[in-house]
Amino acid sequence: MKIPLALLLYAGLAAVAVVLIVAAGSFPKALSARDIGPATFPLSLAVLMLILMACDAAMSWRRIERVHVRVILQAGSVALLVALAVWCATQFGFFYVLPVALLIGLRLAGSRSLVANGIFSICLPLVLWVLFDYVLLIPIATL
């Protein structure tokens, strides 16, 4: 099934804009009469964005390219898998999870060579460990 992706994105952005407009209603007023306060700037942006999206959708909806729904599902699945690996890393430790995640990731991404996948899955975490924890002194094992 093909969908007009740009319109779908606009619908999502419109929903965000509406939520922000509603939330901005509870913001306090400006501290000084000269200031516009915390709500006016984001409110103006959200309203302007809604107007422009409506204009763009009206002017270009016939020309909007349709994208297979599989594209969204595939990209979303990858993002979810990475998020799952990150969650596992927070539970079991980054450098224990990373080699396993890389092995699975390489296989899913289409790399068939088990030897090359294995070497890469060990070498990349090692390089990162040495580089970040010992050279740059940025602790990433705490992830």
């Binding site: 992706l5 740009a6 994105l9 606009y10 952005l13 965000v16 804009a17 922000l20 939330a23 901005a24 913001f27 306090p28 400006a30 501290l31 000269r34 200031d35 516009i36 306060g37 915390p38 709500a39 700037f41 984001p42 942006l45 959200a46 302007l48 964005m49 422009l52 204009c55 763009d56 002017m59 270009s60 020309r63 909007i64 390219e65 994208v67 969204i72 595939q74 990209a75 979303g76 990858v78 993002a79 990475v82 998020a83 990150v86 890389l102 990731g105 390489l106 991404a109 790399s111 890469f120 990349l124 990162l128 970040f132 740059l136 002194l137 940025i138 602790p139 990433i140 705490t142 992830l143």
Partner: protein, 477 residues
């Protein structure tokens, strides 16, 4: 170099990935690393363009025309030699342009106040938004979304938490680095994984030391190199023009002034020289608006601005009075980056050509891993990784819908400056919004920003009207 030779990756995604790795380094070393990456990646895209006919970066698209033709004729070594020589010349001329343009511009900008900075911020976002590919309004729409993202977190003037929805991780707002990593690097990894980025094969392999440029050939390409370098230096300093446009404009102008324009596109050494010198000349000159005004003129400059802010450096005219040493260091780093690029380009070309053939799954997994590490390492906060993944997915979908992510990034970087300066200007004035009538520079800049929006809008409506009229008359016929 590695980021540049990998098809699909470029200097912007490379700098975005490496910003967080430079967090623990001193400001000078961090900037030198990122400037070196920016310079080398812009050049290295040409290695891919010349060897397999796929531009490694958008900035080397015109390089394919003659570079790949030369390779097909069996002149790979010669093409790579021209590419590195002219890239270094272009880079050095661009650096000289930066020195001569940034200092006087910063002098002028010293007189700027909040209204002018507000206007410059608006102009920076408007120009980038108006020049993106696809529907002309889409650039403005995503730029507005980027600006909205910057309003999340503590309001700078009242201290009220805006749009945080009781999420403690949003109190400080959307952090730059995870946003940059997500929008550039994660989306790039997804694009490499699912989109066709060209999977060419190397037709012939260069020698380990492949430098074969003769004095006669150098004299032949000298004029084209100069045309490309000067044009690139000028175009790079203009906000939003960038290396990709300079690559084509330099190529076309060299063709116009060439004695053999017919050879262009069929393996012309002049065409290759012009394309290569022009894109590298833009690297340095793109830093003119960033250093002198604090406004990034390109996507990579926006990432560099994020890196500078991370290190506590605020670019702009005050940098030329308070941190002049750092400004001179940046000039030197750009010059030094070109020298090192020459060394690695000449002696390591065999290695870089091998990298062009690195299988996609390994590239994708490396980018995703570096993205996770990069997003996490600045604040040691897992929330930032999820944020980068979410924005990465959003960025990928924008790309697939034909909408550029660059306006979002620029808006995220400039949003704070725009709102804060607007409100400071209003608080300091008794005239409300009419204060801009007394500030001719700010008013002029704002009018120009408005023109970048209004002109394409009118043009679009006019074209639609003409098409409709054409369709009606066609029906009547």
């Amino acid at each position: 170099m590695a980021f540049g030779v990998t098809p699909g990756l470029d200097a912007t995604s490379g700098t975005a990935l490496l910003v967080s790795a430079t967090y623990a380094l001193s400001t000078e070393i961090a900037l030198a690393v990122l400037i070196g990456l920016y310079t080398a990646a812009t050049y290295a895209g040409s290695i891919t363009a010349i060897t397999i006919g796929v531009p490694g970066t958008p900035a080397s698209a015109a390089t394919v025309l003659d570079g790949y033709e030369l390779t097909k004729k069996g002149e790979l070594d010669g093409a790579l030699s021209i590419s590195i020589t002219t890239s270094v010349i272009g880079g050095l001329i661009g650096t000289v342009a930066l020195v001569f343009l940034a200092l006087p511009l910063a002098d002028v900008a010293l007189a700027f106040g909040a209204p002018e900075y507000f206007a410059l911020g608006v102009l920076g976002v408007a120009i980038i938004a108006s020049l993106v590919k696809g529907s002309f309004l889409s650039g403005f729409i995503v730029a507005l979304f980027g600006l909205i993202l910057t309003t999340i977190g503590i309001d700078p003037l009242t201290g009220f938490p805006r749009f945080t929805f009781n999420e403690i991780n949003l109190i400080e707002g959307i952090p730059y680095i995870p946003a940059l990593v997500g929008l550039f690097a994660v989306s790039e990894a997804l694009s490499l994984l699912f989109d066709d980025n060209g999977d060419g094969r190397v037709m012939s392999k260069p020698k380990l030391f492949a430098f074969t440029l003769s004095g006669k050939l150098f004299r032949h390409i000298f004029r084209a190199t100069m045309i490309g370098s000067v044009l690139g230096s000028f175009l790079g300093a203009l906000p939003a023009v960038g290396a990709a446009a300079a690559n084509w404009i330099g190529y076309n102008e060299a063709k116009r002034f060439s004695h053999n324009p017919g050879l262009f596109g069929k393996g012309s050494t002049e065409g290759l020289a012009a394309a290569e010198s022009s894109n590298n000349a833009t690297v340095s000159s793109a830093l003119v608006p960033l250093l002198a005004l604090g406004i990034p003129g390109s996507a990579t400059a926006a990432v560099l601005l994020g890196a500078m802010l991370l290190h506590g450096v605020t670019p702009g005219p005050s940098m030329f009075t308070q941190q002049l040493d750092l400004v001179y260091f940046i000039f030197l780093a750009l010059g030094g980056a070109n020298i090192f690029m020459a060394i690695f380009g000449i002696f390591g070309v065999g290695f870089w050509v091998k990298m062009v053939q690195m299988p996609k799954p390994f590239i994708v997994m490396t980018i995703l891993t570096l993205s996770v590490v990069g997003a996490f390492s600045v604040r040691s906060n897992v929330f930032d990784i999820y944020l980068a993944l979410g924005l990465g997915l959003f960025g990928y979908l924008l790309r697939r819908a034909g909408i550029s992510v660059v306006p979002v990034v620029l808006a995220i970087v400039l949003g704070g400056l725009i709102e804060e300066n607007l409100r400071r200007a209003l608080i300091a004035s008794n005239d409300g919004i009419a204060l801009f009538l007394d500030r001719p520079i700010a008013l002029g800049v704002l009018l120009f920003a408005a023109l970048t929006f209004v002109l394409p809008f009118i043009q679009n409506i006019w074209v639609m009207g003409r098409n409709r009229a054409g369709a009606k008359s066609g029906e009547q016929d």
